[in-house]
Amino acid sequence: MVDFGPDSPPSEGSHRVISSEVQPRSDADGAVSRPVTRRNFIVWYLAGLLTATVLAIVAPILVFIFPPEGQTKRQNLTIPLDQPLSGMENGTATQFKAPREAGFVMVDGGGDNAPGKIAFAAYAVKDLAGSVTVFAVNCSHLGCSVAFNADAKRFDCPCHGSQFSIAGKVVHGPALFPLSHLEWKEGPGPNQIQVTGLQLPGIG
């Protein structure tokens, strides 16, 4: 603090003089506006600088803890089938599993399933008209693996008794949403199928 000598007023008094020059003004609608003084400009400037500094440190940390995109890159997984798709009879399904350290990515789904969620097994289904669909194995209720019931031509969930038609629609609850589809195409070999999935190092 600058010493103005014995005649100078105490600093608190001089502060009061300054503040009395800049009384807050009331607008017509009652909002109080304070005139910009050098002091409160600098205070706001420094506060802004401090906030920006904190954000500049915190923001990269938040991004850092979010898992990187490279680990979730979609790719085609080639899986061998028990029988060629062309050889399947209408109204049948064949189960296949994801390779080690990889999983399939659900295209749609509700309940426990959701787009982007991982399934570790799937059914290739040929419906009565002869067109092929691939479903994730997980029940939309709580994620158990559904079993194909060849006699009734539907999927039964062993956990809570949900039933799905061969088209994946709910026949019997408690599941509320149809089975999730997987994106697929025919594989390079006759007994193969390609399904969209991703690598999951260390899993399985």
Partner: protein
């Protein structure tokens, strides 16, 4: 005849040497020699101290466990599982005891915290001017629960895996932020090695630092405000 100093003389010399450089004796006296009011002699005023002792046990046994634990969930059986179930439990000398103390202290800790909170609530010790210390305490309760959650996954057995799977699913059910939280907690699209890795980091690096800091604040506030009077 050689002059052998009396042990007391050595002690005085060492303490004097230290005290000339920093007032250790004064600091220790101030920290230790505090009069405890008679009403605070009741057994239920001990619960907080027991929590402190159990946390100290946790830090100590946790450090020992970290000598052998491997936070690697890849493969089957995973190194994380083997390091707990085989190495620590059967091969390391007294490893089973260290893990046992860590496990049982963790369980007792929750019990003692509940009792301590009940005592503080019962005696109204959360009221002015001690509200801040109540808030610090509740924050520490949440940290202990985070310890429990992250620690439960580390043995990487079936129970650990599915219990954490359920917890993360509950987390994912939160409105709006749920899926984001789920991805961040899992460290990816599924519960896997990435999850174990970050739960381990949280369990052994972040939470111990936080709880130590907050316990210090908790005790300084008690010293500043004194033990609250009974009803």
């Amino acid at each position: 005849m050689a002059i052998v100093p009396h042990p007391r003389q050595i002690q005085t010399a060492v303490v004097n040497w230290l005290d000339e450089r920093f007032p250790f004796t004064k600091a220790v006296d101030e920290a230790l020699y505090q009069r405890v009011p008679n009403y605070a002699n009741a057994f239920y005023y001990c619960f907080g101290g027991m929590v402190f002792i159990l946390v100290a046990f946790q830090l100590l046994t946790g450090i020992f466990l970290a000598f052998y634990y491997v936070p690697d969930a890849a493969g089957n059986p995973a190194a994380a599982y083997t390091s707990v179930k085989t190495v620590i439990m059967t091969q390391v000398y007294l490893g089973w005891l260290i893990r046992g103390v860590h496990f049982w202290s963790a369980n007792l800790l929750i019990v003692m915290i509940v009792l301590h909170m009940a005592r503080v609530f019962w005696t109204g010790s959360y009221r002015a001017p001690r509200e801040l210390n109540w808030m610090v305490g509740v924050t520490m309760l949440l940290i202990i629960l985070a310890f429990s959650l992250t620690g439960y996954l580390l043995p990487w057995d079936t129970k650990a895996y599915w219990a954490t799977s359920v917890t993360i699913k509950i987390m994912g059910g939160a409105p709006i932020l749920g899926p984001l939280l789920e991805t961040v907690a899992q460290g990816g699209p599924t519960l896997g090695p990435n999850t174990l890795q970050r739960f381990f980091a949280i369990h052994v690096f972040i939470l111990p630092a936080l709880i130590t800091l907050l316990m210090y604040v908790h005790f300084r506030l008690i010293r500043a405000q004194g033990i609250s009077e009974p009803l």
